[in-house]
């Protein structure tokens, strides 16, 4: 929750995706990842670093760069010291999705506005992946929300 509050405080352009987003949409499974779709421009990446630094105060955060996220590395993972989870910063998924393509809605908790991907968006992101867990997530989303296979 501290990370999500910091992202809002710094004005980060992000959308929560992955298993935590699924949980907020009502399908709760265990995870150790916080997946964030982010705009990879330099200003937003600076805001991301500031937000995470306000929580973790970790010099390693300087290694998160716009050049990576805008370039060859569409996913940058940060594992905070002494924490049991990873934060995945995702700039794009193949040729299919970039930040501006992600449909989201807002959920409020403890005064924090959390940007969470819609069920249809989560389904589209997960349905074509190689990982069986993601395909299982896609099946659950499709069944619960009556989504088309398209």
């Amino acid at each position: 929750m501290a990370v999500l509050a910091a992202l809002e405080r710094e004005g980060v352009a992000y959308v929560l995706v992955g298993a935590v987003a699924m949980a907020l949409q009502g399908e709760v499974r265990a995870t150790q990842d916080l997946d964030l779709f982010v705009a990879p421009d330099a200003d937003n990446v600076r805001r991301i670093r500031a937000a995470l630094d306000s929580v973790f105060a970790d010099p390693d955060l300087a290694e998160i760069t716009s050049e990576d996220l805008s370039g060859d590395y569409s996913v940058v993972r940060y594992v905070p010291p002494s924490e049991a989870y990873a934060i995945d910063l995702i700039a794009r998924l193949g040729e299919a999705f970039a930040f501006d393509d992600v449909q989201w809605e807002v959920m409020r908790r403890d005064g924090v506005a959390i940007r969470v991907a819609t069920p249809a968006m989560l389904y589209r992101m997960k349905r074509d992946t190689l990982r069986w867990k993601d395909r299982a997530d896609a099946d659950r989303l499709r069944a619960r929300f009556g989504l088309e296979r398209d």
Binding site: M1, M22, A23, E27, T31, Q32, E63, S74
Partner: protein, 74 residues
């Protein structure tokens, strides 16, 4: 109550909760913490870069199995 058996905590069917309920964040954090106690593992701290989400997922799965991942350690 019947007994159900699973090979992994991630095989356990997800809990179903109301959509966009503010309490869902607590639910996922508590459930994940419980599963972590059943199957503890630790990722190395730091920043890692991946070309695709599938590559990132594979690295995470290898960490979970206790093996070094293919990600580029900065």
């Amino acid at each position: 109550m019947p007994v159900s058996k699973y090979r992994s905590v991630e095989d356990v069917p997800p809990l179903t909760a109301p959509r966009l309920d503010p309490d869902n964040l607590r639910r996922v954090l508590e459930w994940s913490a419980f599963c972590r106690r059943l199957h503890p593992w630790r990722a190395p701290s730091g920043v890692f870069r991946y070309r695709t989400m599938d590559e990132a997922a594979a690295a995470r799965d290898e960490w979970e199995r206790g093996e070094p991942g293919p990600g580029l350690r900065l």
